[in-house]
Amino acid sequence: MIWSKEETLSRKEIESIQLERLKETVHKVYDRVLPYRAKMDAAGVKPDDIKSLKDLSKLPFVTKQDMRDNYPFGLFACDRDDLVRIHASSGTTGKPTVVGYTKSDMQVWTECVSRIACMGGATKKDIAQICFGYGMFTGALGLHYGLENIGATVIPSSTGNSEKQIMYMRDFGTTLLVATPSYALRLAEVARSMGIDPEKDLKVKIGLFGSELLTDSMRAEAHKYWGKDMLITSNYGMSELMGPGVSGECEQLCGMHINEDFFIPEIIDPETGEVKPEGEKGELVITCIKKNGLPLIRYRTKDITRLFYEPCKCGRMFVRMENLSGRSDDMLKIRGVNVFPGQIEDVILAFKELGPHYEIIVEREGYSDKLTIRVELLKSTDSYAELDNLSKSIRYKLHVVLGLDANVLLESPNTLQRFEGKAKRIKDLRKL
């Protein structure tokens, strides 16, 4: 089912909506957001210079660094008392990235997620179990509102306690699972260990997977456990842009449709910033054209993908973005959580007992990611208690900053590799 008529508008109609909303947004940020005005002035571009969609490329980019420089509310375009919600996600270091929503932003968000859910096969009849962490991350609440909006029965079970998750699924008759692909696989494993066959004993027929890359091999693996008839789609978003709901796959499984009446995508060369032609691979840049709280313009997502504009068999006219094929920065996705090595470095450098060298190792254990940080002890000790406390204290700080459990390995000085050029401190050993 197609949720709203906008999804089937002609390209011409879509572009006309985009241009009108783009102009409004550019005027709004120029008038209301000082850092934008400064950036546009520096680039020598005025709101009235935006006469066609092609003119978008005249506007300066916005990056996560800009959000950091204007922490927490400096890029917001609305009055503070018009905000009805604040969310936050991982920053590259130190402070998180803060986003805010007005009442109308919440309606847009709910609309976007409703469309994505419908694309993935959800209907009013579904019982949807949301196994994303509730809280400051946008994932859970985004899906929550969208699924409620289409009339599905929502179970906000959040993450963790996998056996209880399976119990809810069985007892409540869950038909739709919202999770990261790896958690979906983990849940299937847990079900089996409880003597429950997910395919036969549970009723889950729809998987809306997000917050983590869904590779073909993971999709195949998920079908093996949850049944070949399960409709498994991936969806995409990030809190800076709104949260989940920026794009999602339809049943054709040929890329994720971007909600183009709310977002304009571009693909650029991450080195030069030049816009690339249709079908070429590069960094995804998104402009939000219907937001009041945080209307980011030409936001560099750092995600690498391609765009395809030819119409989809599903009837939707919105452009499709290919499943992501990497990042143009060093961000890691670990158990669905964004992790920047800079955050880990910050934690380590704050311990005077440790040297400045470290190594980040990410491995896959079963269907779960395992994060290990190797650090060097600066000075020796004769006390187990001291070492144990240090190790615990590092783990605790890492958990505060990352929201993830990490193993900490204390090592002797000079054990870790030294680098002359750019340090390679990350070993991602996962085979996805």
């Binding site: 020796s380 000790t381 004769d382 006390s383 187990y384 070492l387 204390l410 002797s412 000085p413």
Partner: protein, 142 residues
């Protein structure tokens, strides 16, 4: 008398202990006693050696996390109840023993390495109760 022990941090990794012992061998250092315990990830190797200061220096130069720690080497009678007597004396004075391991047995005498919360006081209490603690020279000759 307060003596020096060598404390070396070692990762719980194959061959790591051998590397430490290799450094000792290359510098003609003789091990008089050792204690090694481990957790899942790391261990602390505690050594009484012939030349602790020089050995620590060599180990640090080789990239090991080594340090000198103050300890007492207590001489006791090699008979039942003797060690308990020494410990009771310390415990009665409110001194907490952090760890302990045997050094050697020689005829009617035995020695143990002892680390306590207040070493200076522990040394005094032991002396008051008739237990002697050995100097570096005495340890090597014992």
């Amino acid at each position: 008398m307060i003596s020096k022990q060598l404390s070396i941090f070692i990762e719980n990794r194959q061959g790591r202990l051998g590397e430490v012992l290799g450094v000792l061998k290359n510098n003609n250092v003789n091990i008089l006693s050792l204690s090694l315990a481990d957790t899942t990830e790391f261990g602390l190797l505690r050594l009484i050696v012939s030349n602790p200061a020089l050995t620590a220096e060599k180990l640090v130069k080789e990239g090991f996390s080594a340090m000198l720690t103050d300890i007492l080497v207590v001489s006791i009678e090699h008979k039942s109840g003797s060690l308990q007597g020494a410990l009771n004396a310390l415990s009665d004075s409110g001194i907490n023993v952090e760890y302990m391991y045997g050094l050697s047995v020689h005829g009617e005498k035995a020695t143990v390495v002892l680390k306590a919360s207040d070493l200076k006081k522990a040394d005094e209490i032991l002396a008051e109760n008739g237990y002697s603690t050995l100097s570096a020279e005495e340890i090597v000759e014992f």
